[in-house]
């Protein structure tokens, strides 16, 4: 056995010291990483979305598209006004609705409804959508995001709670243009 492979007392303690610190770091890393990722893991448990009321059916005239606001179901005490959201409610007829997110399907700017030309237009990068939310022109690759809705006891209710984004599986983005929203 050569001298280099011999473990000295000091060398052993140093390696032990590194090992012990590594173990402690690994133990402490678990809660720290879970803390950092809490907003992601909570989302996986589907704790963010809930059914929120928008208003009585009568508040939305048939054939028109109106802006409605709602309070996000998942709120922290310091959120203030930022926990409020807006959406476009299109009442086709009777209990048939389409509820669109205000966020443009391109990069999320707030789209505005122009009843005269029957278009939603985005102020940022020039996206435009038809009254049924389908893409009309501009950079968006898809139609507006739709919230699932239901009418219960004469109240329009939507399933909301997450910022709709154009990524692959955003919660409000599951309803692709053209497909009727589920009730």
């Amino acid at each position: 056995m050569s001298n280099e492979t011999l473990m000295t007392r000091r060398g052993l303690f140093m390696k032990l010291g590194i090992f012990v610190n590594g173990v402690v770091a690994a133990i402490l890393a678990v809660p720290i990483v879970r803390f950092l990722l809490s907003s992601v893991t909570l989302g996986r448990e589907n704790a963010y979305t809930a059914w929120v009321p928008l208003g009585r059916v009568g508040e939305f005239p048939e054939g028109e598209t109106r802006l409605a606001t709602f309070r996000n179901p998942y709120v922290a005490p310091t959120d203030g006004k930022t926990a409020d959201s807006a959406c476009w409610v299109r009442r086709i007829e009777g209990d048939q609705f389409q509820v669109f997110a205000v966020n443009c399907a391109h990069l999320g700017c707030p789209v505005r409804w122009f009843p005269q030309s029957g278009l939603f237009m985005c102020p940022c990068h020039g996206g435009a959508y038809y009254r049924d939310g389908s893409r009309a022109s501009g950079p968006p690759e898809r139609g507006l995001f739709e919230y699932p809705f239901k009418v219960e006891d004469g109240v329009v209710t939507i399933q909301a709670g997450e910022l709709p984004t154009p990524g692959p599986s955003a919660s409000a983005g599951e309803h692709i243009e053209g497909r009727p929203p589920c009730a």
């Binding site: 998942y74 006004k81 409020d84 700017c109 102020p123 020039g126 968006p140």
Partner: protein, 495 residues
């Protein structure tokens, strides 16, 4: 005086800092580097120090809470003595810092200072640039107004496009399901702790390497960098034609630093602080969010990219750009330093500058965006209605009421999204006009479902009158033949 010297000596006996500081200050630099071209690095450091000081001052009043941040900015602007000025210094300091860092980078690139043995100095510089941009973006979020709120939404939308991990990244970035209190808190953490801490560490290493490796000598055309000989040559140069950095070269840095601080102060005094714009209330959608100046080019790129190219460009573009910057010293670590003999380097810089400049200029008036308030404000000019029929006038009404001018200009007012319509009748025949209005196309929405047949007929009748005097409107030759008009004309033309 003797007392002061003795106190200083007492401290230095314990600190042992005087000798290394003197060595650093008096280290010999090539005489020709004492140039006004070599002042941008130190200027960036000075502005960074200004940002640290003003940032700390602002943090004494600012409240990083989604509910109160906006109000605390109002307090800073209106209630705290010189609060507006400190905010303005910080905001203008940020713009100056990006500008100076970019100029510094271009100078280093054109002077070949990234070549052996200063590769790592350049790489750290690239990270310093990215950190500076990160400070600018997170700083825009600190100004928690409508632009900040929707800017975060744009950031989240870009992040969401990452394959597989997109939604998780969005929630990690926002600290929850929506842009709210947690979002501001974590951007505050980034802006105040994480990024500045990294910046300070990297700046120290960057400056340390400049001291240890020496300032890049003035590049002479034909004097090539070779790994084997460069360090010896540089050492000889500082010996034969060198001078101590202090005081030989530093006075220019000091003058320029003072000038830059004065310029920041003057801009802050004259132009005042940036915003905040409207309250960050997501239910107020009457807003036109725009990024800060140094991100305007990106805003233009995002508007002009074809939809199919956008996600790849957003996700792959930055990776390629950063990789190219990081690999530069390894791809071209030796050889010619002078920009006079590096035409591709010069052309690259010019090309990038022109591209960024053009996109920034375009973003200033955003021709791709419909004019959101044009419909009621811009009546059809009267001169276009002189001598028109009732049907054509009805068409002019349709034109105005259906907001065509959100996108199309007529008589110098209206949007620039679509083509000007002053001479549209010369370009398109009646059939083509009808088709374009009903089916859209070429980035124009289809209005078939929005216009009754009568409205379409009237609108097209009006559009057909839009041709310059003395220039006939376009007409389809085939139609004349079918209707026999052409035959008659030809017949009558015969002698």
């Amino acid at each position: 005086m003797r007392v002061i010297a003795r106190i200083a000596e007492w401290f230095d006996h314990r600190l042992q800092l005087a000798a290394p500081i003197r060595d650093a200050a008096e280290h010999p630099v090539p005489r020709n580097t004492a140039s006004w071209w070599y002042v941008f690095g130190s200027a960036a450091l000075i502005v960074f120090c200004l940002q640290l000081v003003t940032g700390i001052l602002l943090a004494m009043v600012y409240v990083p809470s989604a509910d109160e941040a906006w109000s605390s900015l109002q307090t800073l602007n209106h209630a705290v003595v010189f609060g507006w000025f400190v905010r303005a210094l910080h905001g203008w300091g940020s713009n100056f810092m990006i500008a100076i860092v970019l100029i510094h980078m271009v100078q280093v690139f054109l002077f070949g200072a990234f070549k052996y043995p200063r590769e790592l100095t350049w790489i750290l510089g690239v990270f310093l640039l990215l950190m500076t941009l990160a400070m600018a973006f997170t700083g825009q979020v600190m100004r928690f107004d409508q632009d900040a709120y929707w800017g975060l939404g744009i950031g989240a939308s870009i992040a969401s496009r990452v394959p597989l991990a997109g939604p998780a990244i969005v929630k990690l970035m926002l600290g929850g399901p929506i842009i709210a209190g947690a979002t501001l808190s974590r951007f505050f953490t980034l802006h105040v702790f994480v990024v500045p801490g990294t910046l300070i560490a990297l700046v120290c290493l960057h400056v340390l390497m400049v001291l240890n490796l020496g300032i890049n000598e003035w590049p002479m055309p034909g004097r090539l960098v070779r790994r084997a000989t460069y360090e010896r040559e540089y050492h000889e140069l500082t010996k034969t034609d060198g001078a101590p950095f202090f005081p030989y070269a530093i006075w220019k840095d000091m003058f320029f630093a003072a000038f830059i601080l004065l310029a920041v102060g003057a801009c802050a005094w004259y132009f005042g602080p940036f915003g905040p714009t409207g309250r960050p209330d997501p239910t107020i959608i009457q807003t036109v969010p725009k990024p800060d100046y140094f991100f305007l080019w990106l805003y233009a790129v995002l508007s002009l990219l074809p939809p199919s190219l956008e996600t790849p460009a957003l996700l792959i573009g930055p990776v390629i750009a950063i990789a190219a910057l990081l690999l530069l010293p390894f791809l071209s670590g030796e050889g010619e330093k002078s920009w006079k003999r590096r035409p591709i380097a010069v052309v690259t810089v010019m090309l990038i500058a022109i591209m960024l400049g053009t996109f920034t200029h375009l973003a200033g008036y955003a021709p791709w965006s419909p004019h959101m308030n044009a419909w009621s404000g811009d009546p059809v000019p009267e001169r276009l209605l002189v001598g028109t029929t009732a049907l054509q006038r009805q068409g002019a009404l349709v034109f105005q009421a259906k907001q065509c001018r959100n996108c199309h200009a007529l008589g110098d007012t209206g949007g620039e999204r679509g083509p000007r319509l002053d001479g549209v009748a010369v370009r398109l025949t009646q059939d083509q006009l009808i088709r374009q209005v009903i089916q859209g196309g070429g980035n124009m929405p289809a209005y078939g479902k929005n216009l009754s047949p009568a409205e379409t007929t009237a609108l097209v009748a009006f559009l057909e009158t839009l041709h310059p005097a003395g220039q006939a409107p376009a007409r389809e030759a085939a139609r004349d033949v079918v209707l026999g008009a052409g035959v008659e004309k030809r017949a009558s033309a015969k002698p």
